[in-house]
């Protein structure tokens, strides 16, 4: 099999399993919506500054949801020895990394679409601008590259729920800063000002995608 067909096989299998069980995405969705709900009570999401608070709430929801999803996805994979099976097959480790990353991107994007819709309806924010969607896409990509790498590391650790955030949060600071700033600017219509933040997000995603693919082999060795 070529690397491309291996990659497609991995993504298809993750999507198919999730389509049958639907437990991962539902869990993530509930988490995201509840986070947004709580933020409404924690901060003023209805006033004139709601673009800033709204984008902050959105990104906190995305970060927590992504880490939750990653943790559960690796746990599900370890059941029935599926992960060992994958490692025993002649697939290059970077291909596994990219496959897992893309599957997770599908799941997180599905959740984000609903979260954005909720944000738009409940808090009257113009989230369906292309600029906002680009920022959300870039930020999610950066988060998921880091997350996929460290989720694989923490897969067999008992305290994964604590360890995965402890590892990813500090490293993901540029993504959070950039994504929140850029989303706020885009929501307020200042697309030009958001450009440097978008470059930061894009550069981050590319850099850690490469680094993740390179180092995944050291992580996925059982």
């Amino acid at each position: 099999m070529s690397a491309w067909s291996q990659f497609i096989a991995i993504v298809k299998r993750d999507l198919l399993l999730e389509w049958r069980a639907r437990e991962l995405v539902i869990g993530m969705l509930v988490m995201a919506l509840l986070t947004l709900l709580i933020f409404n009570f924690a901060f003023d999401l209805s006033g004139a500054q709601r673009a800033a608070s709204g984008s902050g709430a959105l990104w906190v929801a995305i970060v927590f949801t992504t880490l939750l999803g990653l943790g559960r996805a690796v746990a599900l994979e370890r059941q029935e020895g599926a992960w060992e099976g994958l490692l025993l097959s002649p697939v290059e480790r970077p291909v596994i990394f990219i496959g897992k990353l893309v599957s997770m991107l599908f799941f997180v994007s599905a959740v984000e679409l609903v979260a954005l819709a909720v944000l738009a309806v409940l808090f009257a924010l113009p989230v369906l601008r292309p600029g906002v969607l680009v920022v959300v896409g870039l930020g999610t990509l950066g988060l998921c590259t880091l997350g996929t790498l460290f989720a694989a590391m923490t897969a067999s650790v008992r305290s994964r729920d604590v360890l995965l955030p402890a590892l990813v949060f500090p490293l993901a600071v540029p993504v959070v800063i950039g994504a929140v700033r850029a989303t706020t600017l885009e929501l307020n219509g200042f697309t030009a000002d958001a450009a440097p933040w978008k470059s930061l997000l894009g550069g981050f995603a590319v850099l850690f995608f490469a680094l993740g693919a390179l180092t995944f082999g050291s992580v996925a060795e059982e």
Binding site: M153, V157, R158, L163, P170, L200, T215, S218, V219, E221
Partner: protein, 239 residues
């Protein structure tokens, strides 16, 4: 068994360890004299400014440690030799301590000068995040059961973390800034009286010698620990 005797043998390079220790004590003694008697009193900040001679070297060492972790991690992943992981572990412990010291000395110095214990400017925030990355490094090593796997994972974290630090710094600086502009490393020369520059240079050298000594001792302790683990493993195997 050869491994038993090697574990209790004094380090092969004990002589230069003693030299480092002596140099360290002497240079620190010199630094203390310079800091309190030679360096002038800062006109605006008063005596508390002397914390600078502690603060700057610990900051450099906190970041130097992470660089050592970065290089050792790459070498460990490429070559798989235990010595690189030992070096990374040792540098991590020292780096964590020095990062804590930077944050503490900076905070103590900042309180009377800035009127606040903390501010979210670029350099403080990045150093705080560095502290958390170090913490994550230790948590990872502690929670992963198999030590060899823990070493590999920690190496990946060391590499990813080091590459991320400049990006973190850049993003936080774009976000806000309040730290005094760098006064030591500037193209037109440091913006402070020569006595202060001499003092901080000597203090920096003293700290670097101390760091080298501590790193060497810590590395030796880790080597011994690994040998003990090996012996213990062999004993368990053969009953």
């Amino acid at each position: 068994m050869a491994t038993v005797t090697s574990a209790v043998r004094r380090p092969a390079k004990a002589a230069w360890l003693s030299v480092l220790a002596t140099l360290s004590v002497l240079s620190f003694a010199l630094s203390v004299v310079l800091i309190f008697l030679y360096a002038p009193r800062d006109v605006q900040q008063g005596e508390v400014q002397r914390l600078f001679y502690l603060h700057l070297p610990t900051a450099w060492l906190a970041y130097l440690s992470f660089f050592i972790i970065f290089v050792s991690s790459i070498l460990y992943l490429l070559r798989g030799q235990a010595r690189w992981d030992r070096l990374a572990r040792s540098a991590a412990e020292l780096g964590f301590i020095f990062t804590t010291l930077v944050l503490l000395t900076g905070s103590i110095w900042g309180r009377p000068i800035w009127g606040t214990w903390w501010t979210w400017d670029a350099r403080l925030t990045t150093t705080l995040i560095l502290w958390f990355i170090y913490l994550g490094y230790f948590l990872l090593r502690a929670y992963v059961a198999d030590p060899e796997r823990g070493a590999r994972y920690a190496a990946v974290l060391g590499i990813v973390g080091f590459v991320d630090i400049p990006i973190i710094h850049m993003s936080v600086r774009w976000w806000r800034t309040m730290h005094p502009e760098p006064i030591v490393v500037r193209s037109e020369g440091p913006a402070m009286p020569p006595e202060m520059f001499t003092t901080v240079a000597i203090a920096l050298i003293a700290f670097v010698i101390l760091y080298a000594f501590l790193l060497a001792v810590k590395y030796w302790i880790e080597t011994t620990r690994d040998e003990v683990m090996e012996i213990r493993g062999a004993l368990e195997q053969h009953g």
